[in-house]
């Protein structure tokens, strides 16, 4: 990296060397410490002495007699539950239209951790932040404790009797009944639904999705004659072009796509090839941050871009084009050329929900021959089956008084659909309104009856992720509250009082058992499917041919719809990786997870380009920003501004999923609700507002809690080491920076000079490698770590005080050609920077600076390479944190458990929430330091399991929480003493003269020149670019 001319920066304040930033940059903690700001009425010194005297007396008295503790065994111990021994069950995460095959870890019969199911060919063992966090939602006190009627608790018998009575009245009078739901993926639930419909034939089922992909299914209907959302296979694509699709973060099936995509980004000296990824988008999405070439475009330019690409490809394919539109998007021509060069091995996706855009994209993929290779129509996905047109019609009909009964099936349209206000207004006209929401959502509060559903961890069910790819939902805990599974409720109302479990089994016996030939015993089949969690038989072949006429019609519509009015802003509505559609809004782990790109927590905001901010006169320093009045159509809302590098000039971004009013104590009043701003285009929900958007300054100051510039270490450009694929092809060590230190008249490698004697590792030597080329920044690891290691949530105020507790953070660096000077240059640098993600946790240094400064030896080195942190010995001097070059140590400024001031820390502040805590990990007290332990509890458990079986641990048996969560397989954990381990092979460890050398040229230590010799290795970032260009 000696010739690297790039500047790396974490935030604009660092780039501009803002005085405020510089003042704090080298400090672990900000100067102001508002721990005990003295209130004149508060405790005086005298009170303190009194209290202390009393305290000592009380403590010594208390110490004389230890409290009596009870040990309560089971009355009848279940065969397969042993206290202290975890059990794992395959199940499926279900939330709205999202479903992921998972394995649930339970202790003493309560789920405490969710991991991916490696048997699933869809997600292949990956998870994301929302899946990891969902286990906390199970223990949310704000779930409904039983059925409700008119806002008051009732019982199931009353509810059933009244609902059935009203239904029969309505049926007798021929009234219309509506079932409104998100995409239902369960075949058996659908069967139960059809039984209900058979009993009440006037029932209409309306499916919508909070974040719709109706545009895709509609486009397929128009261009192929079949409405569906196909499967994509990014792993087979050598050229990937995404037009506004955040496929790694939020689009359709992000875990699956990340798994596939990361396969094309893995390189080594024998395989020096990777995919090339072009991204055209308005907001800087996580996917855009990973792209090799990214072009910021306005939403209105999307139309011209797609049309131009279609015509360019058509010209190459010798087919007729559509009426032309001019696009000046950079890299467009290059993308077209490469797509054509990789016919059949390329993929074009668009995030737009406009069917016309999707039709042209279908056309492009069709001309490229991608159907059958990277696009699979045989197994369409079931995640997004919503029909926006149906939903709009429903809202109209409801208001017209056409519906006598409405059932909201596990959905919350009053909040999360653009028709929300209209649905809320029309509800009064329906005689019977029922919701099956498991909590008092905005919709549940507006209906007469609530028949709460189980949490997915309490359910028996099945899920069809894609055609022919089934996954079973298995309960891992007895229902905590008096809830009932939704399909069982519907069966009951249809007059069938069957228990849902037997209904499910019967359905599988008659409809799935015959689709396999491995066994003729149903119980064997059922047990095996339950054990595996998945049952995959594949889809059915569909012969589809693209209808070129649809393309010209679509191009016509595009020409009309996408007209730029250059003087005005355009709004691009998106969803974030953490909060998504907002249904898990009351989950504090997700609220506090810093956004992969903006690094903001606990908020939504307008993302705005530096140029636009300059024009408005808005500046942002360390999260200090101001609110503006955003007016869209007739609606005005007050939203803070976040200046986002890479944002297309003239566009604003605003995330969905916030501004909830009935989510619960955590999610209420966080940000603003963007759903009402969603517009309609060609019958589909359209997530861009192309006209009528204006912004007005209010000068009201506001703080956004970003973790962005916290724990920074500036001026050290040896942290990110990167090269282009071209350079890597010639030299696998390209981009590496080799520091030298001066010793005795010559320059030597830093490792040659050491004060330390080093450590001898006879048994294990644990280590981590992190491939920065694979890491997409998705933050699944941070939430997985939070769940595994009992990490508290501190709340927005404390994040602002730089006291977030996450043990693993993902540093997001922007880089651009060296800017010097004033605002104009800043604009250029922030125009479209490159982005690098670097997961950062305790580096477990062999020459650890923290260990040498601890006055009480609370942090020490183990014989297995771990840097150990002993909470019960720590006295809280914080010397270690001050001396840590990586700033990965976290201090417990407060008691975060059993403290009403931290009541958003749900996992530690009520008895129900505490059930999620990992019993093998201490809940830390106030005043002690903590940090990544390399999941030492898992290491110890794995070693013990091996010892009990008289063998060495097998590689892969012990896995850190972050590594097992990673959907991109960017993190490898293992024993570097085991020559067969994945990590030894990845690092090409070679033993020479009793010394182990790392043979992999991409591997480097962050801050190598200080020779702290970490056990965490990073692999250089390789961008698939022609040459070094910013």
């Amino acid at each position: 990296m000696s010739n690297n001319q790039k500047t790396y920066w974490k935030g604009l304040e660092q780039l501009t060397n803002d005085p405020e930033y510089v003042k704090h940059a080298d400090k672990e903690f900000p100067e102001y410490l508002p721990v005990s700001e003295q209130d004149p009425n508060s405790n005086s010194r005298r009170d303190f002495l009194k209290l202390m005297g009393f305290g000592i007396a009380a403590a010594s008295l208390a110490a004389c007699e230890a409290p009596v503790r009870k040990a309560i065994p089971y009355l009848n111990k279940p065969m397969d539950v042993d206290p202290s021994i975890p059990n794992y069950y395959a199940s499926t995460y279900v939330n709205g239209g999202d479903a992921v095959s998972v394995v649930v870890k339970t202790r003493e019969g309560r789920p405490i951790k969710i991991e991916g199911n490696k048997f699933s060919s869809v997600t292949m063992g990956g998870t994301n932040a929302q899946v990891e966090a969902s286990v906390l939602s199970l223990y949310d006190k704000e779930r409904l404790e039983g059925p409700m009627k008119g806002g008051q608790p009732t019982n199931w018998d009353t509810l059933d009797a009244e609902v059935i009575e009203k239904l029969e009245e309505i049926a007798a009078a021929g009234g219309q009944i509506a079932l409104v739901s998100n995409s239902i993926l369960s075949p058996t639930t659908n069967k139960a639904g059809s039984e209900f419909i058979a009993k009440y034939p006037t029932t209409k089922h309306i499916t919508y999705d909070a974040i719709s992909a109706y545009g895709i299914s509609e486009s397929n209907r128009r261009s192929f004659g079949t409405a569906m959302v196909p499967s994509y296979d990014f792993s087979k694509a050598k050229t990937i072009v995404s037009i506004g699709a955040d496929f790694l973060g939020t689009w359709i099936s992000p875990i699956e796509f990340t798994k596939q995509y990361s396969k094309t980004r893995k390189i080594n000296e024998h395989h020096r090839e990777m995919s090339r990824h072009f991204q055209f988008e308005s907001n800087l999405s996580m996917t855009g941050a990973n792209a090799d070439y990214r072009t910021p475009i306005k939403p209105t330019d999307e139309g011209a871009l797609v049309v131009s690409m279609y015509n360019a490809i058509a010209a190459k394919a010798g087919q007729a084009g559509v009426s032309a539109m001019a696009s000046d998007a950079t890299h467009m021509q290059q993308a077209v050329n490469e797509l054509w060069a990789h016919k059949g091995e390329s993929l074009v996706v668009a995030g737009s929900n406009d069917p016309n855009i999707q039709i042209l994209v279908n056309g492009i993929n069709s001309m490229l021959g991608n159907y059958g290779t990277t696009i699979n129509t045989d197994s369409p996905v079931h995640f997004r089956k919503g029909n926006d047109a149906d939903m709009a019609q429903f809202a109209k009909d409801l208001n017209a008084g056409n519906y006598s009964a409405v059932f909201f099936v596990d959905c919350n349209p009053i909040y999360d659909s653009p028709e929300g206000a209209s649905v809320a207004a029309g509800l009064a006209k329906a005689g019977l309104t029922v919701s099956t929401s498991d909590r008092m959502t905005e919709t549940a509060a507006a209906v007469e009856y609530v028949a709460p559903n189980h949490h997915f961890l309490e359910q028996w069910n099945d899920v069809e992720l894609k055609e022919g790819h089934y996954s079973l939902v298995q309960p891992t805990i007895r229902p905590i509250f008096d809830t009932r599974q939704t399909p069982e409720s519907f069966l009951k109302w249809a007059g069938n009082s069957v228990e849902y479990y037997s209904y499910l089994q019967d359905n599988w016996r008659s409809n799935f058992f015959n689709r396999q030939s491995d066994t003729s015993n149903f119980q064997t089949f059922w047990d095996k499917t339950l054990y595996d969690g998945v049952f995959e038989v594949g889809g059915s072949s569909k012969n589809l041919s693209f209808d070129a006429a649809a393309a010209s019609t679509a191009a016509g519509s595009i020409a009309i719809n996408y007209k730029a009015e250059s003087t005005q802003y355009q709004l691009a509505i998106y969803s974030t990786v953490g909060i998504g559609d907002g249904s898990q809004g009351n989950n504090p782990w997700l609220q506090e997870m810093s956004d992969p790109v903006t690094k903001a927590t606990w908020d939504n905001y307008i993302t705005m380009s530096q140029a636009d901010a300059n024009e408005l006169g808005i500046s942002m320093r360390e999260g200090n920003t101001e609110k503006v009045n955003l007016t869209v159509g007739g609606e005005t809302m007050s939203v803070p501004v976040l200046i986002q590098p890479g944002q297309a000039v003239g566009t604003l971004g605003l995330a969905l999923g916030y501004g909830r009013t009935m989510a619960g104590r955590v999610g209420n009043e966080v940000g603003v609700n963007a759903y009402p701003l969603v517009t309609k285009l060609d019958g589909a929900n359209f997530y861009s507002v192309l006209a009528g958007v204006s912004v007005e300054r209010t000068k009201e100051s506001y703080k956004i809690a970003q973790t962005q510039t916290h724990q920074t270490y500036m001026g050290r450009e040896n942290v990110i080491q990167e090269a282009t694929l071209e350079e890597y092809k010639h030299d696998t060590g390209a981009g590496r920076w080799h520091p030298h230190v001066y010793k005795g008249g010559e320059f030597v490698a830093p490792g040659e000079v050491s004060l330390w004697k080093g450590h001898e590792y006879n048994n294990h030597h644990w280590g981590l490698t992190i491939d920065m080329n694979s890491c997409t920044g998705c933050s699944a690891c941070t939430v997985a770590c939070q769940a595994e290691n009992n990490i508290p949530v501190v709340g927005k105020e404390e994040v602002l005080n730089r006291r977030e507790m996450a043990w693993i953070r993902i540093d997001r660096y922007y880089s651009s050609a060296n800017p010097e000077g004033g605002k104009k240059e800043l604009e250029i640098a922030a125009d479209n920077p490159e982005v690098t993600f670097q997961p950062m946790m305790c580096q477990h240094c062999n020459n650890a600076p923290c260990e040498t400064v601890c006055p009480v030896a609370a942090t020490t080195h183990s014989t297995e390479g771990l840097n150990q942190m002993t909470y019960n010995r720590c006295i809280g001097t914080r010397y270690c944190a001050n001396n840590c070059p990586y700033k990965v140590r976290r201090f417990n400024w407060f008691k975060y458990h059993d403290n009403t001031q931290f009541d958003k820390n749900l996992s530690m502040n009520n008895d129900l929430g505490k059930m999620v805590l990992n019993p093998d990990v201490t809940v830390r007290a106030r005043g002690v330091m903590e940090k990544c332990t390399m999941c030492v509890q898992r290491i110890q458990a794995g070693k013990l399991a091996a010892k009990r079986e008289d063998r060495r641990p097998v590689d892969g048996e012990i896995e850190m929480a972050c590594a097992s969560a990673c959907p991109a397989d960017a993190i490898i954990f293992g024993d570097m003493k085991d020559p067969e381990s994945k990590i030894s092979k990845a690092l090409h460890l070679k033993e020479k003269d009793g010394e182990v050398k790392v043979g992999e040229k991409r591997a480097y230590h962050v801050l190598e020149e200080i020779n702290v010799n970490p056990n965490v290795w990073y692999f250089t970032k390789i961008r698939n670019k022609e040459k070094t260009e910013a």
Binding site: S60, A63, C64, A66, V68, R69, K70, A71, I72, P73, Y74, L75, N76, K77, D82, P83, S84, I85, N762, N763, A858, T860, S862, T863, E864, L866, Q868, M869, T870, Y871, N872, R873, D920, V921, T922, T933, V936, Q937, Q940, K943, L944, A946, K947, R948, D950, R951, R952
Partner: protein
């Protein structure tokens, strides 16, 4: 009123028993088929314990199941094999003897054992040997009432006291004699008038205790001793805060380990099922108690509490005796299964305890001491092979827990 059925049953049992009593040995004259080879007998004893026969059976007395002495005289070998391997099948087949036996023991099911015929024969060899030669020597040592002979052949403890007491008595007598002699001699000298001045001084010398105690040296020494002893007591006292060694709370059920583990030698794991597989040893659930107590001592008020618990559905709330702080992680399987540590090492002579008490201090110092001195149980454990090899290269000392990082913080604190 006793029902007719019960009467018939009692009579049937009586007749069967009488049958045995009067038929005497030789009903099945197959004793000669049972091997008497000492090696086989030893193997049989081992198998008897390994298969957990000892949990329910003893040779010379009734435990849960019948005493086994002379069982080979009562039934033929194939019957015994069949019954041990699957008692329920034999009972179900309508075998009269089996059915009666089953009823006699209140329908307690003997679990099926997947054990080979020849192994059963070996066990029978042991049973026969035990029957024919009751282990007299064992009985004597076991019933020793505190006069147990010290292992290394030193002086027995009882004699030690006698010797010491005798010695003290002798010493006191000598002192008295000496005092008498001094008295006599002084008297004699006093009676003499012509004593020299020096002699006079000695004779008239008086012990001045006051001057002795006022001596600065003495005051210094006494003060030092008082302070030193005082401080030691305070420090020792402070160290015992939170240490509950000897803690023996009253339990809701007066369960006696002395009876179960001591007298009946029930394997610890029969009840403490987690001890080899998990962190917790597990306090047995009521259903484990009921395996035996559904038929044994059913009228005891203590056992009645079990039935009450089962009926009410409320588990028994035992008082926890061993309380480790939450910040310390201790795993039973690591110590018992991997390390091969005896339960008694930490829990004391549990088989002697009527009421369980905390035998060890459970302090970190106590843990560390053991980790410093205990050699690892590395035999036949593939995990340790390379470590032992490396260790033996550098030293001849056995590999201790300490040597593989057993004193490191993160082994117990995380």
């Amino acid at each position: 009123m006793i029902s007719k059925k019960a009467l018939v049953r009692v009579m049937a049992v009586c007749s069967v028993v009488c049958c045995f009593v009067f038929s005497g040995p030789g009903l099945f004259a197959q004793a000669d088929q049972i091997p008497t080879d000492q090696a086989i007998i030893d193997e049989g004893r081992q198998l008897f314990n390994e298969w957990g026969c000892n949990t329910c059976h003893a040779v010379d007395k009734v435990v849960v199941g019948p005493a086994l002495a002379g069982v080979y005289d009562r039934k033929d070998l194939p019957w015994i094999y069949a019954f041990v391997q699957n008692s329920q099948r034999v009972i179900a087949s309508g075998d009269e003897y089996a059915v009666n036996l089953f009823n006699e023991y209140n329908g307690t099911v003997m679990l099926s054992h997947d054990i080979a015929d020849e192994d059963i024969l070996k066990i029978l060899a042991y049973v026969k040997d035990y029957t024919d030669n009751p282990p007299v020597a064992d009985v004597v040592t076991a019933t020793g009432d505190g006069t147990a002979v010290a292992a290394e052949g030193g002086i027995p403890a009882k004699y030690m006291t006698i010797i010491i007491v005798t010695l003290i008595v002798v010493l006191v007598l000598i002192l008295i004699v000496l005092a008498l002699i001094i008295g006599v001699l002084t008297k004699y000298l006093n009676e003499k008038k012509d004593l020299s001045d020096e002699d006079k001084e000695i004779v008239e010398e008086k012990v001045n205790l006051g001057a002795f105690f006022r001596h600065p040296g003495v005051i210094g020494i006494v003060t030092f001793l008082v302070i030193a002893l005082g401080s030691k007591n305070v420090i020792d006292g402070l160290y015992t805060i939170g240490v509950q060694q000897g803690y023996a709370p009253k339990q809701p059920i007066a369960f006696s380990h002395k009876i179960h583990a001591g007298q009946y030698e029930i394997d610890c794991q029969y009840c403490h099922t987690g001890v080899e597989i998990g962190k917790s040893a597990n306090i047995p659930s009521v259903n484990i108690c009921m395996n035996c107590h559904s038929s044994i001592k059913t009228d005891s008020p203590q056992i009645q509490k079990l039935y009450a618990a089962q009926e009410s559905g409320r588990p028994i709330e035992w008082v926890r005796v061993h309380n480790l702080p939450d910040l310390a992680y201790f795993n039973h399987s690591q110590h018992v299964k991997v390390g091969g540590v005896e339960c008694q090492t930490c829990h004391g002579e549990i088989q002697e305890m009527e009421v369980v008490e905390q035998a060890s201090p459970l302090t970190m110092g106590w843990c560390i001491d053991c980790h410093r001195t205990t050699a690892l149980n590395t035999k036949d454990n593939g995990y340790y092979d390379k470590l032992v090899e490396l260790h033996n290269k550098s030293t001849k000392e056995p590999m201790k827990v300490e040597d593989i990082g057993g004193l490191e913080c993160s082994k117990c604190h995380y």
